[in-house]
């Protein structure tokens, strides 16, 4: 079931079109990735979805289970830019923001304590926000966005600014949230992170749609396979032998990686292996999202 329907959004700032005819859906119970490099229009799109800014045209519709009577309480929102009440105590801020989302204050306080403990901030509940490190403050803000167990959590760049340990922690928590029934719209420019979490992605570049749909399907349709070889011998022979059936060939002493072009199946590829190259190891796999994006974005700009 669709929980969020975005149709034909357009938005310009001072004559500069930053969102161009974007349409996508978020389905109940999924993690949907909104992807694109910096400046692609992700945050603008999310702000329009949240009603923070209005679109020039197009529509944003939530299903009644998320938003009825204009109440945004069943939505959790982590803005891209981080900020909290600097002079207030951590626990007070969470209690207040939970309260604004419709939780009773004591319930919000209890939940806040649970979450703080879970994110290793239990000892800091009475510290002022200004005394927290940037990463800690980010965790607090993350808690604020999901403390009320929203139906839909809209997280804008949740991993930005976190160290690898905390990135993993956040990934786990996002996965947990989804398991407990929260639908998640996750915006990020870190494609590798999103790839591990999302079933579906909506990828934009310079305000335009580049990819949209099921991640596996996208990879399938992309058609290329990523091949990684370890070998002994002269790697240059690979280029001669495969010609334009492969692309993006990179050779470093004893190893090579490249993409097979569409239709050039693993079977065929084996036939073309030059005898003078003694293969020790072959790895076949789907290309990472990043590479698909780069290919598509390049192609898109040529069209």
């Amino acid at each position: 079931m669709e929980i969020l329907k975005v149709d034909q959004l357009e938005k310009s700032f001072r004559g500069n079109k930053v969102v161009k005819d974007l349409s996508f859906r978020v389905n109940e119970g999924e993690i949907m990735g909104l992807l694109g490099p910096n400046g692609a229009g992700k945050t603008t799109t999310i702000r329009i979805v949240m009603g923070i800014i209005g679109p020039d045209s197009g529509s944003v519709k939530f299903s009644p289970q998320v938003k009825d009577n204009d109440s945004k309480r069943k939505i959790g929102y982590l803005p891209e830019e981080r900020g909290l009440y600097e002079d207030a105590r951590t626990i007070e801020v969470l209690e207040y923001l939970g309260n604004l989302k419709g939780m009773a204050r004591n319930v919000a306080r209890m939940k806040a304590k649970e979450w703080l403990k879970k994110l290793d901030l239990g000892a800091l509940e009475n510290d002022k926000i200004s005394e927290l490190s940037k990463g800690m403050a980010q965790k607090v803000q993350f808690i604020a966005s999901i403390i009320h167990e929203p139906e839909l959590a809209i997280l804008d760049e949740p991993f930005a600014g976190l160290d690898p340990v905390n990135q993993d922690l956040f990934k786990e928590i996002v996965a947990e949230l989804r398991k407990s029934g929260t639908t998640i719209l996750l915006s990020s420019h870190r494609m590798n992170m999103v790839e591990e979490l999302c079933e579906r992605v909506f990828m934009i570049h310079e305000g335009e749609e580049v990819l949209n749909g099921n991640l596996e399907k996208i990879k399938e349709e992309f058609g290329k396979e990523l091949v990684e070889l370890k070998f002994e011998g002269d790697g240059i022979l690979l280029r001669e032998s495969f010609g334009d059936r492969i692309s993006d060939l990179e050779i470093k002493d004893g190893s090579a990686s490249f993409y097979t072009e569409k239709g050039f199946s693993p079977n065929e590829f084996l036939k073309y292996l030059p005898d003078a190259v003694d293969v020790k190891e072959i790895k076949l796999g789907k290309p990472p999202l990043h590479d698909i994006f780069v290919a598509k974005a390049k192609g898109g700009s040529h069209e």
């Binding site: 949240m50 800014i53 929102y77 803005p79 900020g83 600097e86 007070e92 923001l97 309260n99 966005s145």
Partner: protein, 405 residues
């Protein structure tokens, strides 16, 4: 009313009540009031207010009638004590300033008609001794005169009737004047409105600026709408203003009535009503203007010249205060006091120094109420747009456009 408004109001109230800024503004100001109240009073005391206590070495046996006469006078210049120790000891104590001073009365008292009674003292203020000497001189003159007349055969009762003193008493001539108590209250209320509204207003403005620059406003507005947010803010800070005024007013009243001893005249219900109205509307108007400025500026630091003028708006009437004191009913004063942002202060200051016609007060209430309504509305609308507008100041024309929309 909406529950979310109260949530915001409570948050703003409790958070800012705990803030250093609020404590400083609220506590330091009454201290200044107290100091201003105390210092002139204290300095005045240094002059001659306290009576001098003099010890009498009574070799003439007249202490009792002398003391009775001194006490029967309505004076607070001198007290007498009968000396029980030796003169040398009194002299020492006087030198060390343990006592104010002493004098000796020998027999016969009439001998002092030839030469003065010497008061031995080490007091710094000679004028107090001179005053005391005058009182003692008149009392002693009567005492000696009575004695002399008695010796010459006059009846004591007749002597009293014949020698009744003739007193002078000063009567100060001035125009029919307003008592201190009559102008202290409206003037005080006017000052409190200016100060409290400015303090609260600037806290609203700074708060809004911060929320805007650290973007927490996005989180808040993802839960409630912008009207609830600003209404809650204005309400929360109104609570703070009220707490502040109550404290100041309380301290001020105690200082005035207990320490400086200025009676605060009775306040009629009509006065009570318009004081309150001026306060509430004055606060709302100023806080809205400040909120509007905060929401339309790029960040807290950015403040153009034009903004500065608006920020100073509430204190401008104070510059007119001298003129108001001198001619509270001059035509230009009356006209300026109807300029909406000045109404509460100017009207109260005028009413402190003259009788402002009731119709003018009523008219000012209507104008102020209407203007405040417009300001709150404008602030709400500009807030809605300005809070989520980043990276640039709104121009005056943009503000005007959004405020009207």
């Amino acid at each position: 009313m909406n529950n979310d408004i109260f949530k915001v109001a409570r948050w703003e109230f409790t958070q800012n009540l705990k803030s250093k800024t609020f404590l400083i503004l609220t506590v330091v100001i009454p201290i200044i009031i107290v100091i201003i109240g105390f210092v002139p009073n204290f300095l005045a005391f240094q002059g001659s207010e306290e009576p001098v206590t003099l010890y009498v070495i009574d070799k003439a046996g007249v202490f009792k009638p002398l003391n009775n006469s001194v006490n029967s006078l309505d004076q607070d210049v001198v007290n007498l004590e009968l000396a029980e120790s030796e003169e040398s000891e009194l002299r020492q104590r006087a030198i060390e300033k343990e006592i104010d001073g002493y004098f000796v009365l020998n027999e016969p008292l009439s001998s002092y008609q030839e030469g003065p009674v010497q008061i031995f003292s080490n007091l710094d203020s000679n004028s107090r001794l001179v005053e005391a000497g005058k009182v003692l001189s008149s009392v002693l003159t009567r005492l000696v005169g009575t004695e002399n007349l008695q010796e010459n055969g006059y009846e004591p009762g007749k002597i009293f009737a014949l020698t009744r003193p003739i007193n002078f008493s000063p009567v100060k001539l001035e125009e029919e004047s307003r008592s201190l108590g009559q102008f202290v209250l409206p003037f005080g209320v006017a000052m409190m409105i200016v100060l409290s509204s400015m303090f609260q207003g600037s806290m609203v403005m700074i708060g809004i600026g911060k929320e805007k620059s650290n973007r927490i406003v996005e989180i808040v507005l993802s839960s409630i709408d912008s009207f609830e947010m600003i209404a809650g803010k204005l309400l929360g800070f109104a609570g703070l203003g009220l707490a502040q005024i109550t404290l100041w007013g309380g301290v001020g009243l105690v200082v005035l009535t207990q320490i400086i001893d200025i009676p605060i005249g009775p306040v009629s219900p009509f006065q009570g009503f318009y004081y309150l109205f001026y306060f509430v509307m004055g606060y709302l108007m100023i806080a809205s203007i400040y909120a509007l400025l905060g929401a339309s500026a790029k960040d807290i630091q950015s403040s153009s010249q034009t903004r500065g003028v608006f920020v100073l708006l509430p204190i401008i009437p104070i510059y007119f205060s001298a003129a108001i004191v001198n001619s509270p009913e001059a035509l230009w004063v009356r006209l300026v006091s109807f300029f909406p942002p000045f109404i509460p202060t100017m009207m109260l200051m005028r009413s402190a120094f003259s009788e402002v016609p009731a119709w003018e007060i009523l008219l000012s209430l209507v104008v102020l109420g209407g203007f405040t309504y417009l300001m709150v509305r404008a602030a709400t609308k500009v807030f809605r747009v300005g809070m989520l507008m980043y990276g640039k100041d709104m121009s005056i024309s943009e503000i005007a456009r959004w405020a009207r929309n």
